[in-house]
């Protein structure tokens, strides 16, 4: 197993992934990016509203994975939740889209060593987390206990539950490398 992410004495965060792992990470990030780009509807009728990030019609996503990325901000007040969505979702979506696009660009320029500044490490971390949220939603991972069951059902180690478990491990090593720097 690769060492994944470590912080160097100069404050850079270095990721060491073998080519197979790097390709896997890249393909998972690309899946998130395509999900976000697909829903990035720029058909807003009002250009001023678009400029300030307000969506005329920000609908509650039907896809549970998207709903997990853009959850309701009010639990028992649909109208307040919809208002919040109108004012925030477009900005939030651009932020998440730009973040995963940047993470992919970082991987594209990396060789066998992924060198990250603190800011780049934060982008990578956020994109990995969004990817895990989407994967978990697709896997129907509703509590901490059913991952083992899903892993047992997969005949080979290349299945989605195994990818999820691997990405969890990878994110853990990255968050630890970043937190090291803060302390």
């Amino acid at each position: 197993m690769a060492h994944a992410f470590n912080r160097t004495i100069t404050g850079k965060i270095i990721g060491r992934l073998d080519p197979v792992e790097q390709a896997l990470l890249r393909s998972l990030l690309i899946q998130l990016a395509s999900l976000l780009h697909k829903t990035d509807e720029s058909e807003n009728a009002d250009p001023i509203a678009q400029l300030v990030g307000i969506q005329e019609l920000a609908e509650r996503p039907e896809d549970p994975a998207l709903l997990r990325l853009f959850p309701d901000a009010y639990r028992d007040d649909e109208s307040a939740a919809n208002d919040f969505r109108r004012y925030t979702e477009s900005g939030l979506r651009s932020q998440k889209t730009n973040r995963v696009d940047s993470a992919i660009a970082i991987l594209d320029r990396a060789d066998n060593k992924i060198e990250l500044t603190y800011e780049e490490a934060q982008l990578m971390l956020g994109a990995m987390n969004d990817t895990r949220l989407v994967l978990a939603s697709r896997l129907g991972l509703t509590n901490e206990l059913n991952l083992d069951g899903l892993l047992a059902k997969e005949s080979e180690s290349g299945g989605p539950a195994h990818m999820y478990e691997w990405l969890t491990w990878l994110q853990e090593t990255l968050v630890r490398a970043i937190a090291d720097e803060k302390n």
């Binding site: 990325l69 959850p71 009010y74 987390n129 937190a179």
Partner: protein, 93 residues
């Protein structure tokens, strides 16, 4: 990074003068280390306080992580969503 918010020293003590709370809910995906990192990075909380709040989320299912007026709490909740945490705006009770 947001400004540090003045909060009660004991985090489960409710600040009654502040009407709304940014509430973070437990979910099976977000890592304990990541949630702690988010509370430290965004709210500028000390590690001990961030960990205490993270454990509240983990064990009690939710925690009030910041208090304020509606505008401030909506901003905090949007920030939590950007980090991928499951957060809602609740009336502080």
């Amino acid at each position: 990074m947001s400004q540090a918010v003045v909060l009660p020293q004991v985090s489960d003590e409710v600040e009654t003068t502040q009407p709304f709370a940014c509430t973070v809910w437990n979910d099976p995906v977000n890592l304990m280390s990541y949630v702690t990192y988010v509370f430290m990075t965004y709210f500028n909380y000390a590690k001990l306080k961030a960990e205490e709040l993270m454990l509240q989320v983990h064990h009690n299912g939710k925690a009030y992580v910041s208090y304020g007026d509606k505008e401030k709490i909506e901003k905090d909740v949007a920030a939590m969503h950007s980090y991928g945490l499951w957060a809602t705006i609740e009336k502080a009770s």
